[in-house]
Amino acid sequence: MKKIELIITLQEQVLDTQGEALDRAVKDFGHDEISNIRVGKVLYFDIDESEPAKIDEIVNSLSERLFANTVIETYEYKILDGETV
């Protein structure tokens, strides 16, 4: 059993309206040093599989079919407990 952290964000070229709004809000707080906020989603789940290649196949397939919309989003994931893909 492994724990997965999957992070989904909008692709660079897609306008992130939430990010833009946050950018403005952060500036209102007086933090001019912050810019380029991108808002994403993070999913945590357990997977009953230990072989990295298998995990990679399952996570990629699900990400492309359901978790992310690859027309506008990109994703990356980590196997928690130190192992990273």
């Binding site: 897609v14 306008l15 989603k41 919309n69």
Partner: protein, 226 residues
């Protein structure tokens, strides 16, 4: 007589409106639960607006992998009419039956108002009763209706006359003011505005009625010039 399946996902909320519109225009319609796997006996599919699966994860995402989806794809492949309105449009792009994606309105907020639109292509089986550049009023009601696509897809849409409906005043940041598109084959239609809410002048507009009449007579509508 065309017989349409109105797909009901949990969270759909324009299913009754869409069903009523089809019936009012003289077509046959029946609700089909998203857990079904067959659309046998139907001549076309209508995917209603709403918040399928609560719009959770991403609008249309979970509906795009629901049990009924394979049957919807089969219908589209067979060249039968498949129409998605609002959330239905989002679902069709998620399935990949239509190109591009619908993302959050550039103004962040949900927008509900009567939108003035232009029929860009009147040479489709869906719009043959309209004329080119005809202005129509359909209500819009969405938070994620900003049409997004890449430059290549946009060029493609224009080259193939796939853009059929445009906003006269862009409310949501949609690329090229796009409000509705069809696929290359011309049998899959997706649009953010709600023609099913524009059937009676006492409710504000009856400009949507012709679209449902065209759906009723789909079989007889002549293959279009493109």
């Amino acid at each position: 007589m065309m017989r349409y399946a109105v797909i009901r996902f949990p969270g759909s909320n324009c299913d009754r409106d869409l069903y009523n519109a089809a019936v009012k225009a003289g077509a046959e319609a029946e609700y089909v639960d998203y857990r079904e796997t067959s659309l046998e006996g139907f001549d076309g599919v209508l995917i209603p607006g709403g918040f399928s699966f609560g719009d959770y994860l991403r609008t249309g995402a979970m509906a795009s992998v629901a049990p009924i989806t394979k049957a919807v794809i089969r219908m589209a492949d067979e060249g039968r009419p498949v129409v998605g309105i609002c959330n239905g449009f989002q679902i069709l792009t998620e399935i990949g039956l239509l190109p591009g994606a619908l993302i959050r309105n550039t103004g962040h907020t949900f927008i509900s108002r009567d939108a003035s639109l232009k029929i860009v292509n009147d040479k489709t089986k869906f719009t043959k009763s309209y004329s080119k550049d005809e202005d129509v009023i359909f209500p819009i009601a969405h938070g994620e209706g900003c049409y997004f696509c890449t430059d290549e897809v946009y060029a493609d849409l224009k080259d193939n006359d796939q853009i059929i409906l445009k906003y006269n005043e862009n409310p949501n940041g949609s690329r090229g003011d796009i409000a509705g598109i069809i696929n290359k084959k011309g049998n899959v239609l997706g649009m953010m505005p709600h023609p099913e809410r524009a059937l009676e002048s006492i409710l504000g507009s009856r400009d949507g009625f012709k679209l449902f009449e065209d759906l009723k007579s789909w079989e007889e509508n002549h293959e279009t010039v493109r």
